[in-house]
């Protein structure tokens, strides 16, 4: 809620300043914004639908079942993939990761889950592609996934 108030407050100040300085340019800004929003609308809807599906199917219980059922390397890979495909708010994700850690999951598995969760966004990929291009999105998420696996490996060794 605080974020939303902040964004709207900031927008109000900017919009007012823009209107005082030039009506013409403000109009142009509105046009640019409207067009960009319309263009992104289909991928926004897609992201919404995918978020619902992944969170509806992969509930916290389902994830702990999947991660907790296997051990070692397999669990780490499963955790990394689950982290990459889900989009969980941090207030839900970190308590879940903490409880998995306490119930016996390895540090490597948990760091794989947390790192891919924050670094790779498969759910938001359709939108990222629309706005930033296919190449950029695939590179950023692909490299992010690799990096997350390496980070998990290192953290498993040193922690």
């Amino acid at each position: 809620m605080a974020t939303i108030i902040m964004i709207y407050g900031f927008l109000a100040v900017c919009l007012l300043m823009s209107l005082i300085k030039s009506k013409e340019k403000s109009k142009k800004a509105l046009k640019v914004a409207g067009k960009a929003l319309l263009k992104t609308a289909p991928s926004l809807l897609a992201v919404l639908g995918i978020v619902g599906l992944t969170l509806g199917i992969l509930t916290a219980e389902a994830i702990s079942g999947l991660v907790g059922a296997e051990a070692g390397f397999v669990a780490t890979i499963i955790a990394a993939v689950l982290g990459a495909i889900t989009l969980i708010p941090s207030l839900v994700a970190f308590p879940l990761a903490g409880s998995l850690l306490r119930s016996g999951a390895t540090v490597m598995t948990i760091s794989a889950f947390v790192t891919t969760l924050v670094m790779v966004g498969m759910v938001t990929a359709p939108m990222e592609m629309k706005i930033l291009g296919k190449k950029f999105t695939l590179l950023r998420n692909g490299l992010g996934f690799l990096a997350a696996l390496i980070i998990a490996g290192i953290m498993g060794v040193i922690l």
């Binding site: 974020t3 964004i7 709207y8 927008l11 900017c14 919009l15 300085k21 340019k25 403000s26 142009k28 800004a29 640019v32 914004a33 409207g34 067009k35 960009a36 929003l37 992104t40 991928s43 926004l44 809807l45 897609a46 919404l48 639908g49 978020v51 619902g52 599906l53 969170l55 509806g56 199917i57 941090s90 970190f94 308590p95 990761a97 903490g98 850690l101 540090v107 760091s111 947390v114 790192t115 924050v118 670094m119 966004g121 938001t124 939108m127 706005i131 930033l132 291009g133 190449k135 950029f136 590179l139 950023r140 490299l143 990096a147 997350a148 390496i150 980070i151 290192i154 953290m155 040193i158």
Partner: protein, 187 residues
């Protein structure tokens, strides 16, 4: 036909929901609630974000962005990107249009990879929650390695994508602006 093509992904997802509603109504119900929750959030956040992007497009001069975040900005540019990313702001999808605008205004790829990456992975409020549930050493180690990885990823992406100009791979924002720029280039 055009509209159908544009909305083919949402339509496909809609079909999955219908199938789910028939075969697993409980899951479908849960999914629908989550979607509705996120829809409310997006409906509130996206319009002001796009408006801010529009204002930035019109008002912020290109040379300023180039100077602060361009390829010559060095470590200072990286630090600015990191600071902007870690600030307590909205979800990651808010950052995509911002990144596109900054790239068009001359920000370097490496800085934008750091910006997006720290927005997603190193946000200050998120780090607080992480420290609380996973401990300070876990969070600290992850922070250091993630930041290192982001810089490396930025370098790799800069070498792969940076050979071409931004126009070569970034989707156009809208046709008018593209035409204008193309016209300028010819002239």
């Amino acid at each position: 036909m055009m509209i159908l093509k544009k909305f083919k992904l949402p339509i496909l997802i809609g079909c999955i929901y219908v199938a789910l509603a028939i075969f697993a109504p409980a899951t479908a119900g849960r999914s629908a609630w989550v979607t509705w929750d996120y829809f409310k959030e997006m409906a509130l956040i996206m319009p002001p974000v796009f408006l801010l992007m529009g204002l930035m497009e019109v008002w912020v001069p290109k040379d300023k962005i180039q100077k602060w975040l361009g390829s010559g900005s060095g470590i200072k540019g990286g630090l600015i990107s990191l600071a902007l990313g870690t600030l307590p702001t909205g979800p990651l999808y808010v950052a995509f249009p911002m990144t596109a605008t900054l790239l068009r205004k001359g920000a370097s790829i490496i800085n934008m990879v750091i910006f997006l990456g720290s927005w997603a992975a190193l946000k200050i409020p998120q780090l607080m929650v992480e420290i609380k549930f996973l401990g300070i050493s876990f969070t600290g180690v992850r922070f250091v390695f993630t930041l290192t990885a982001l810089v490396l990823m930025g370098f790799i992406m800069e070498t792969i994508l940076g050979r071409k100009s931004v126009m070569g791979w970034l989707p156009p924002e809208n046709e008018e602006i593209m035409k204008k720029q193309a016209g300028k280039m010819k002239a």
